[in-house]
């Protein structure tokens, strides 16, 4: 691994965290191949990869260690959820001196060879960086961003760089979001703290979900998380609408979250006028 940290402790300044849950072998093989491209790219920073497995058993250990005999694989023993699992890895990463950035990596993506390099480059370009996301490829997300600065209303968690500064000031993901919308929430909190939330257009991750099979479970989880987001940011109407959809999709009843007043800093940033997009679309 190249590009040790400035402190010279031999620990890379960049950590990649991959949260697993019963992933197909081929998916992990493709991801691992693309991580190799990123290590080999000209000018690429060194990075460490940690796998945290939320699956019901640790059978993926065999797959991961076959890909990399020295892999840092951990079995969580329970499903911590997306945010919970990344929070544990993030806490460890930023507890290590010299680590500047933590990058969440979805295991069903394939990283373009320059993805990590460009993410880090974009993050280091401005001092107020909180989050930097990779551009989804080939069908990029239609939410807007500034073509010069990359500023965007929120960042996707698919491949997401979190800076040490953000972690120190905002903490990680809100673990009440088991999956979905935790990235929107973290983005809004980062912006409320005056940190920038940006897209790095040159950092691309192949991740296409538009035509994947419909999953009622996934649709329910999205609505449940969205309802929580509405409650957290004081939008009772949005919360009720999402709960109605959740119920129509056959979701089990759960304790309805309390609608709270988030304060003016968060209120002026939260955007609920675009259904589940949380920003106007470019197309």
């Amino acid at each position: 691994m190249s590009g040790r940290d400035a402190a010279g402790r031999g620990e890379p300044g960049i950590w990649l965290g991959i949260v697993l849950y019963r992933n197909p072998t081929q998916e992990l093989e493709r991801l691992w191949t693309s991580l190799q491209w990123n290590r080999d790219a000209v000018g690429a920073p060194g990075f460490r990869v940690t796998w945290l497995d939320n699956s019901p058993d640790d059978s993926l250990r065999t797959v991961v260690t076959r890909l990399d005999a020295r892999a840092d694989y951990r079995y969580s023993g329970q499903n911590l959820g997306f945010g919970g699992a990344h929070n544990r890895l993030m806490a460890e990463a930023f507890g290590t001196p010299g680590v500047r950035h933590y990058i969440c990596v979805n295991p069903d993506g394939v990283l373009h060879p320059y993805c990590v390099r460009e993410l880090v480059h974009a993050a280091d370009r401005m001092p107020d960086t909180g989050l930097v996301e990779a551009r989804l490829f080939p069908d990029e997300h239609p939410k807007p961003y500034d073509p010069v600065t990359g500023e965007t209303p929120w960042c996707s968690g698919c491949v997401l760089l979190v800076t040490r500064k953000l972690h120190a000031r905002a903490g990680g993901f809100d673990e009440r979001f088991f999956m979905y919308c935790e990235d929107v929430d973290l983005s809004w909190r980062a912006r409320a703290l005056g940190l920038s939330v940006r897209v790095a257009p040159a950092a691309r991750v192949h991740h296409y979900t538009v035509t994947r099979e419909e999953s009622p479970l996934r649709e329910r989880m999205v609505r449940r998380s969205a309802a929580l987001l509405g409650a957290k940011y004081g939008n009772a109407t949005f919360m009720r609408d999402r709960l109605r959809e959740y119920s129509a999709l056959g979701g089990e009843p759960f304790a309805v979250p309390e609608v709270v007043n988030p304060g003016w800093r968060l209120s002026r940033i939260a955007e609920f006028g675009h259904h589940l997009e949380f920003a106007r679309r470019r197309w």
Partner: protein, 478 residues
């Protein structure tokens, strides 16, 4: 149909063959003459050639020096072309083979046979000959043809023109009445590999390396298997970055990469000759293909008898950006609607990059344009003869570029092809178009009325909109 004896070729054919052969040989050439042709033999000897005469119609290896040229005459032409090319190639592997062919598959011959005004023309068609050359491992080094004359049948001129045009669209060879050919050995064409998709990506040196890299990255993540990717590039272009990308992405194990080098004008044709797949797609660096695009198109072909399938796509418009990467301003789906209309084929030339062809279902249809090597009018030419399967729904690929009006970059068809469709299909399309036009008019009228109702307090706008609404109402009245 009963084949009749070979008709007498046009009276000057022997003289033209003699002139043709003399133009291809030098003094000292060893020429093997298969078939009776005394005047030609004498002319060759006078030209300084070493002539070996054989009675034909079969080729037999002559004693002595290997011939540099083999000339087929009379019955030997059909005899050797239909059953003796492999032996000829084996026994005279460096010889150029020269012959005259009266095309049994010319449009004129076919029409006259259909109309009963002439017997079936005996011998081999040019199309059949081309196929035999490909199978046996020959290519045409030189070809001089006489086009067939029109207006010679018992049909009205426009009907004959339409029939001839349709035949020409399917096979250019039907327009050849007779020809003089020089063929040379090359590697035999390989049979198409069943189930394989060949994607030909044309490298335009003007396209940025980043664009090409993205196109290759998207192709590397295709779900369709098996897939071979042919990167076709002009001979003098720098492919170092692209080849590095190919090598890297091939490690995903999703495609077999190949690079085809050829002169710019022959690039597509060269790539198509090397493509081994039953299924064929044509791209350039502007295209981004979503992961299931080809899988869905191939499935559509496997589930139907269609010769080609095409999907809805995005025209991705880049804004002039101050950033380092192009900024996508908009993605506009095309073609719209649930049916692929004939007009779409001319309106959206980019369709050439979002289709898959089943090459086992198009016969001798020419995939590259006549005499230009391009593919700009391929959707129109294909659609004129073969009804495609259209995958509506969500767009599954992109054609990227600076903002332009739909059809703004259109390469119109080099010809105005004839359409092969049932009258009922044509009528249904016209009816549908009329209904959509009426609906659109009704919609406009309601929209204008709605806006008018909101703006009635501003007199001049109110008057203008009122007048517009009235015009639309009048327009709607049958």
């Amino acid at each position: 149909m009963n084949a009749m004896p070979e008709e007498v070729a046009t009276s000057d054919a022997p003289e033209r063959l003699t002139a043709f052969v003399l133009s291809r040989v030098r003094a000292g050439a060893v020429v093997c003459l298969v078939g009776e042709a005394k005047p030609l033999a004498a002319a060759l000897r006078a030209h300084g050639c070493d002539v070996r005469e054989q009675p034909g119609p079969a080729w037999t290896r002559p004693e002595g020096t290997e011939p540099s040229h083999v000339v087929l005459t009379g019955d030997a032409v059909s005899h050797v072309l239909t059953g003796g090319l492999e032996v000829l190639r084996q026994e005279a592997p460096r010889a150029e083979v020269l012959f005259h062919l009266r095309n049994a598959g010319s449009a004129r011959a076919l029409l006259e046979t259909w109309l009963g005004t002439a017997p079936v023309r005996a011998g081999i068609s040019e199309q059949g000959m081309l196929r035999r050359l490909s199978d046996a491992g020959y290519r045409i080094a030189h070809r001089e043809v006489l086009p067939g004359a029109s207006g010679s049948t018992a049909l009205a001129a426009d009907a004959e023109q339409a029939l001839r045009a349709l035949l020409a669209q399917l096979s250019v060879s039907t327009q050849v009445e007779e020809g003089l050919y020089a063929i040379v050995p090359e590697a035999p064409a390989r049979a198409l590999e069943q189930g394989l998709l060949s994607v030909v990506l044309l490298h335009d040196p003007r396209a940025s390396a980043a664009m090409l890299d993205e196109a290759l990255f998207a192709l590397a993540c295709q779900e369709q298997q098996p897939l071979e990717l042919l990167l076709a590039a002009p001979e003098d272009s720098d492919l170092s970055a692209a080849e590095a990308s190919l090598e890297r992405y091939a490690k995903l194990g999703t495609f077999q990469p190949r690079v085809v080098r050829a002169p710019a004008g022959d690039l597509y044709a060269a790539a198509l000759r090397q493509a081994r797949g039953q299924y064929l797609a044509l791209l350039d660096a502007r295209c981004l293909v979503y992961p299931r695009h080809y899988a869905h198109l191939v499935q559509a072909l496997q589930g139907s008898s269609a010769a080609w399938a095409v999907a809805r796509s995005f025209r991705t418009e880049w804004a002039s950006s101050a950033g380092a990467m192009p900024y996508v301003r908009a993605k506009v789906p095309f073609p719209l609607g649930e049916q692929l209309e004939v007009q779409h084929l001319t309106l959206h030339p980019e369709l050439v990059h979002v289709l898959v062809i089943d090459r086992t279902r198009i016969g001798p249809f020419p995939l590259t344009g006549v005499g230009q090597g391009g593919i700009g009018d391929l959707p129109v030419r294909l659609g004129a003869l073969f009804v495609p399967v259209f995958l509506g729904g969500i767009a599954s690929c992109e054609v990227r570029g600076p903002c332009m009006a739909p059809g703004g970059g259109a390469a119109s068809a080099s010809s105005d092809p004839w359409l092969l469709r049932r009258v009922s299909a044509w009528t249904a399309a016209v009816v549908q178009t009329r209904e959509e036009a009426l609906l659109a008019r009704e919609f406009r009228h309601r929209l204008v009325d709605g806006v008018n109702a909101r703006l009635h307090s501003i007199p001049w706008i109110h008057d203008t909109l009122r007048a517009l609404a009235d015009r639309l109402k009048l327009d709607r009245t049958p």
